[in-house]
């Protein structure tokens, strides 16, 4: 005949496994406390089986997926696109500048007789004239109102702003790495 401890352990095991708690048995008939314990477990199991399953909100699922994705190893993450984007931006900038320095009509580039003059000489010749002067003119108009900012006090503020910028970003990076180091999901 089992004692109170083994009877309750068996009840607990069945409850954890999601099985129906068996109340019959010699010990339950002899011990009122254990019988009541078994009945409580049975009632709790029945109530749990009737309760509807709570489905998480869509936003919770997305946040969970995003956090799981964040935990993936990024060791093989390709960074080629940064260099390619920078190169493309520079190339676009150079081509746009070259084109803007030249005649508006692109056919003039094709039809021009370049005999005796290289393309680079032609570009230099074109750049020397009004285009660069216009660019400088507009640059002056755009930046002239800011010329009053060039004072020792403003430069001091600029240095302080730079220090604040670097400090804030470094503190954020340190915090993020620290949070990652103590994350329970951190990979070893």
């Amino acid at each position: 005949m089992m004692n109170c401890e083994t009877y309750r352990a068996e009840c607990d095991q069945q409850f954890d496994a999601g099985e129906v708690v068996i109340l019959d048995g010699e010990h339950a008939a002899a011990c009122a406390d254990c019988a009541a314990y078994g009945e409580r477990l049975a009632a709790m199991q029945e109530a749990l089986s009737r309760a509807p399953l709570e489905t998480p909100r869509a936003s919770f699922t997305e946040v969970l997926k995003a956090r799981l994705a964040q935990e993936r190893a990024h060791a093989d993450e390709s960074q080629w696109w940064i260099g390619a984007s920078a190169f493309a931006a520079c190339a676009l900038f150079v081509v746009a500048g070259w084109y803007a320095a030249g005649p508006i009509n692109p056919s003039a580039w094709i039809n021009r007789d370049l005999a005796g003059i290289s393309v680079w000489q032609y570009v230099e010749e074109v750049t020397r004239d009004s285009s660069l002067a216009w660019a400088k003119h507009y640059w002056f108009i755009a930046t002239e109102p800011l010329s009053g900012l060039a004072s020792p006090r403003t430069w001091t503020l600029a240095v302080l702003a730079l220090i604040a910028l670097v400090s804030v970003n470094m503190a954020e990076a340190y915090r993020l790495r620290g949070a990652s180091r103590f994350s329970p999901h951190r990979r070893n």
Binding site: A150, L165, A173
Partner: protein, 161 residues
């Protein structure tokens, strides 16, 4: 003259729509070529909204101030440095801005099986339409801009390793 004004207005409206379509296309392209980076930025955007907003405000104001001081020197090398800083800030801000397309698209998608491109496209259309609302749209847009910029900076500072 009214006829010419209508044409000018139409051309500018087309240019505006083309720029907005370019923003949405850039968001789809960025998601395709750098999914890990965008994923990290989106995680920061969704889970650390206030911190990202503060980080974006600090970065944007500090860089704009530095650009203004560099422009104010009237020296070409420093002016070009300021221009490069300003363009970099604009590029980061645009990437951050596109995070709102992901976020709104995700909320529109709910449990539907949309592709990422469709999610970003519909989220981008909805977001840009919302940003065009007078006053409220602009305030919302500025908030999203700073929050997105902070999320991008956060993703750059931490690579998830």
């Amino acid at each position: 003259m009214p006829y010419q004004k209508a044409i000018v207005f139409f051309v500018f409206a087309l240019l505006y729509l083309a720029a907005k379509a370019g923003c949405v296309a850039m968001a789809i392209w960025m998601h395709a070529v750098a999914p890990d980076f965008i994923g990290r930025a989106l995680t920061a955007y969704n889970t650390r909204a206030k911190r990202c907003f503060a980080l974006g405000v600090v970065n944007a104001l500090a860089v704009l101030f530095l650009c203004a001081v560099l422009f104010g020197t009237q020296l070409e090398p420093l002016g070009l440095l300021g221009l490069a800083l300003l363009l970099s800030l604009a590029a980061l801000a645009m990437v951050g801005y596109s995070l709102s397309y992901h976020d709104l698209g995700r909320q529109l998608r709910d449990e539907r099986a949309w592709t990422p491109a469709r999610t970003i496209l519909l989220g981008g259309i909805a977001a840009e339409a919302a940003f065009m609302a007078p006053v409220i749209g602009q305030v919302f847009s500025i908030g999203v801009l700073f929050r997105g910029l902070g999320a991008v900076v956060s993703a750059m500072l931490w690579r998830g390793k």
